[in-house]
Symmetry: C2
Subunit: 102 residues, 2 copies
DNA sequence: GGTTATGTTCTATGTTTCTAGAACACAGCA
DNA sequence: TGCTGTGTTCTAGAAACATAGAACATAACC
């Protein structure tokens, strides 16, 4: 085996309350804001002074809530917002949250 | 003394993550949806088969998050959405959540 | 192979949250 | 005053969550 497992839910299975819960944590909301530039970021890039195990935990919650997508690239990982998909599933939701998080 | 205390935060002090957290619980999201008709509802009216102590707990969280307003009237209480105020504080947020909760 | 860099998983600790029964408080009414 | 309806507060147990150190896994490079 190989290839790390970054399973993420299909967009149609994403639950509204899970999205709201994931973004109700200040640390995770900050991560989402950082990803709002549309670029891929590495976990270390997003971490700041948060320990990496804690960061990994938060990224997992965001990923499993359907908010982010994580892709392995070499020895780091690339995290991005599932903006288009989320907007199809919950029109206007992510935009409203991110805008009001400024 | 008298008059039950239903203190609610001033709208400018309402925190986004608290709003998201309050609505991340399915029971509370259902309460918010029921209140979305713009009418005042009593706690018992909203309760369904949820025990009243549990209901009181959820209503308190919604109230302290700044989402609802509770007014005592006789021996019952009147709960309503702070829709206009919330929309001023976080434009488009509540509408996006309620619409996607359907 | 050995070393370094980047993250994940494991494990443990403490906090918060959910649920709901029991007791209490208040309002209305006979 | 007593009785009933409505809801809050108290209390406790279970479950979920946040945090973070330690160990492990993977990738790149010497």
């Amino acid at each position: 085996m190989s290839e790390r497992d970054f399973t993420q839910p299909e967009i149609d299975g994403v639950q509204l309350h899970a999205v709201l819960f994931a973004l109700s944590d200040p640390t995770r909301l900050a991560i989402a804001r950082a990803l709002a530039d549309g670029e891929e970021h590495s976990a270390g890039d997003l971490a700041g002074d948060v320990p990496k195990s804690t960061m990994s935990h938060h990224l997992k919650i965001l990923r499993e809530a359907g908010i982010t997508s994580t892709r392995p690239e070499g020895m780091r990982c690339r995290v991005s917002l599932r903006r288009t998909e989320l907007n199809r599933r919950f029109p206007g939701l992510l935009a409203a949250i991110l805008k009001n998080a400024e």
